[in-house]
Symmetry: C2
Subunit: 461 residues, 2 copies
């Protein structure tokens, strides 16, 4: 793309109003990268559409005039999915941030894509309802971005991922045509499942403009605990044992020592030097049942190798614990200025093998590793830390992550549990998915977006 | 299709062995219809492949020689999905019925498509695990058919539908190419979601040859109750009230008086004449919690209009109750020799409107109606009974069901919650899905099956 012509830029501004089509250099720079730290080219412009009609008209124009459109929520994606690799127009959904309806009778929410996930949590809670998916970035990330990547988060172990809550979508095709997929009801199987085809398609098939979500009744009570272990393997084995033999927790997060060291000051309790890993575990449900589950689980953890189990004294301590957990990803930069952060997923019984292998691969390449994540569903965030100014370290980090992916697939896992492929995992995708499957996916892309204007240069080469 | 040439038939027999490619007239007749009662043409042959390789070779041959292949499990589908409308080869999965793996550590099952759903239930239960989807036909229907239609059943209200348990698939494309979609883990978002695109595609996109399923821990305890009501509306209002204000049951089935009359002899208790509707409700979970939920729910039902709540005295009575419920669909033929049975779904709060409307539409056209179904998730099985030998009644029944669908869509519902579109709902699909969406679906079909050999004449005109 050789930049937008002045004429095209004027046409876009006419659709959104001048104020909402911008191309100042600061804005362009700010929208050239996302939380993966990857930058592409600068975009040529940024548009902030107000509604479905404006999205539709911009996309129709893009197909006609041949410019790229890169949909973007808050830019908190971890794989470069919102990066304008070849310039074009970044389409930000921040103005489309209305919660249109919380239907308390039918446990359904209807929202625009720019709604911040935490705002949806709060709105649901006000009605006694619950939207479970809770990625670490929930105070800033948008539900549109969550749909695009099929976001997960710690509660997926009990409650599932974004896909499991999306009942239906309104979306705009590359041509500007508006489609409505799925249902507003608990069930529905009329025709092919376009809803789940769009969920996780990373903004490459359509721009989602309205989302119908399933809500559930809010649990009456939540109890949070942190179990500490003197060995990494012992913590990892306990994850598998809890899932198999104890209660189903709503969260079971694993944090290794290297990660703990980056956030320990924010926690409300001391972490002894002997501790090599921590599990943060939450149980929820009806009040009486939760008390019982919690006592059973504390006993189980103590009998299964936990050096200690620290029970949260109340809402404030729980909040601090989760803030520490949620700040882990940025906090790791204390170890080294750069990291490769990959959200691999393995069968839960193989977590001990996986965390051991990550450690060994780090040692082999002389790099620090830090591992944490949603261990209850096998989804491990593996971080290889390096100094990007040193080309030897940078090269080693790439080799190390290649070995991590190879071992993940050998264990029957996947290269991405919830972050998507985006830009950063493109070259690893063919390791997981065969040629025929990639051909089918590319043909689906071609069918939805014949001019190739929607978020080009992502997922597949 | 003008029948298979002798040469083609020989080639098919060579793939499966002569014994497993048959064309005796009795077999052809038996495979010309399914549980919807719809017959198409006779098929030209029936094949019983033993494995993925044979499926692949038959499909490659079909694409080359231009004959249709209609995948079929047990033929218990309710919308004519397995009916060979233009002849061709019916491909029955009954020999591919192995449970390949129950992975107790990771709560995963790997099965072939011909596994009978009840056999999977039993195999999971032996390991203390649970596969929740339980369509009424579970003693005979196959998991392959469940995947093709995205089957639901009574437990979907708490546990979701088939889609929610399918982690990954092995499937054969019309060309004979084998693809492997999805993951063996709890999470995974690498590339587009081909898994859920195939789930519910009614055998029109690929033949599924292996299924990886999520299992969950078996609930410790289940309690079953039947609440009877003196008015249909009162029962329907109670469904909505329970979902909103009481505990989340694992099943909440609605049965109207007309339906009850067809199965009341099989129940172990008397149903007073004043009863106009029954709800069968089950709660499950940890033993202590279930006892509490059950007592709370009995109180709630009594306070919300139930004339009586009958509690199952044990396994045998529960079994009889469910057998009565599950035999409803065929038992309705006591009312009239023909029926139109549609599995509409509406928002739960609109169930009272919907059951009233069905009754009124029946009265308007002078036809008996019988309504039952999975009320907890808004999925109502509406039956219009008629005598097909009387063309006036037949015509009236078609008009009546048209009005039922119109009203369903007006309430924000869907024409099919779990049975699929198949053959019988094709003409109603455009009422729910717009032209652009149908165009996309047809293009997806074209992309997966360029020669149009897979289950032709289904879903779309």
């Amino acid at each position: 793309m050789a930049g937008l012509s002045e004429n095209t830029q004027k046409k876009i501004a006419k659709i959104t109003g001048k104020k909402y089509t911008v191309s100042d250099r600061e804005e362009l720079v700010c929208h050239s990268y996302d939380a993966a730290g990857k930058a592409g080219h600068l975009p040529d412009a940024i548009v902030f559409p107000a509604n479905t009609d404006q999205v539709s008209r911009v996309l129709a124009l893009a197909s006609a005039d041949g410019f790229s459109v890169i949909p973007r929520g808050s830019g908190s994606g971890m794989t470069g999915g919102a990066v304008p690799v070849n310039g074009g127009v970044v389409m930000v959904t921040s103005r489309m941030n209305r919660i249109l309806e919380i239907d308390k009778e039918n446990f359904v929410a209807r929202v625009e894509p720019g709604v911040v996930v935490k705002d949806l949590h709060d709105a649901a809670a006000e009605e006694g309802l619950f939207y479970p998916p809770d990625p670490a970035s929930s105070p800033v990330c948008t539900i549109g971005g969550n749909v695009a990547e099929c976001a997960g988060g710690p509660r997926a172990v009990k409650y599932g991922v974004t896909r499991d809550y999306v009942l239906g979508l309104e979306a705009v095709l590359a041509t500007g045509e508006v489609i409505r997929t799925g249902v507003k009801t608990a069930k529905g199987v009329a025709g092919y499942d376009l809803t789940r085809l769009l969920v996780g398609s990373e903004g490459t098939l359509a721009v989602v403009t309205q989302i119908t979500l399933k809500l559930i009744a809010a649990p009456q009570k939540v109890k949070t605990m942190a179990a500490v272990f003197d060995s990494m393997e012992s913590a990892a084995r306990t994850v598998s044992a809890v899932m198999r033999d104890a209660v189903l927790p709503r969260c079971m997060e694993y944090i290794d020592r290297a990660s703990l060291d980056c956030v320990k000051e924010s926690m409300s309790f001391e972490i002894p030097d002997s501790v090599q890993a921590m599990l943060i575990i939450e149980v929820d449900g009806a009040a009486d049942c939760v008390e019982k589950d919690y006592h059973d689980l504390v006993d189980f953890l103590r009998q299964n190798g936990a050096a200690d189990v620290l029970v949260s004294s109340g809402a404030e301590e729980t909040e601090r614990l989760w803030q520490a957990r949620k700040s882990l990803s940025p906090a790791l930069f204390r170890i080294a200025p750069n990291k490769i952060n990959e959200d691999i997923v393995v069968p839960v019984s193989r977590i001990p093998d996986m965390v051991t292998a990550i450690k060994e691969i780090g040692v082999k390449y002389g790099l620090y590793t830090a591992t944490f994540g949603h261990a209850g569903d096998g989804n491990i965030h593996c971080n290889i830390m390096y100094d990007g100014r040193d080309p030897v370290q940078a090269e080693r980090s790439r080799k190390a992550i290649g070995e991590v992916f190879d071992y993940t697939l050998k264990l029957g896992g996947s290269i991405t549990g919830e972050h998507g492929v985006g830009l950063t995992k493109m070259k690893y995708l063919p390791g997981e998915i065969n040629e025929t499957e990639i051909r089918l996916m590319k043909q689906i892309k071609q069918l939805f977006d014949p001019s190739g204007i929607l978020n080009p240069g992502k997922i597949f080469y």
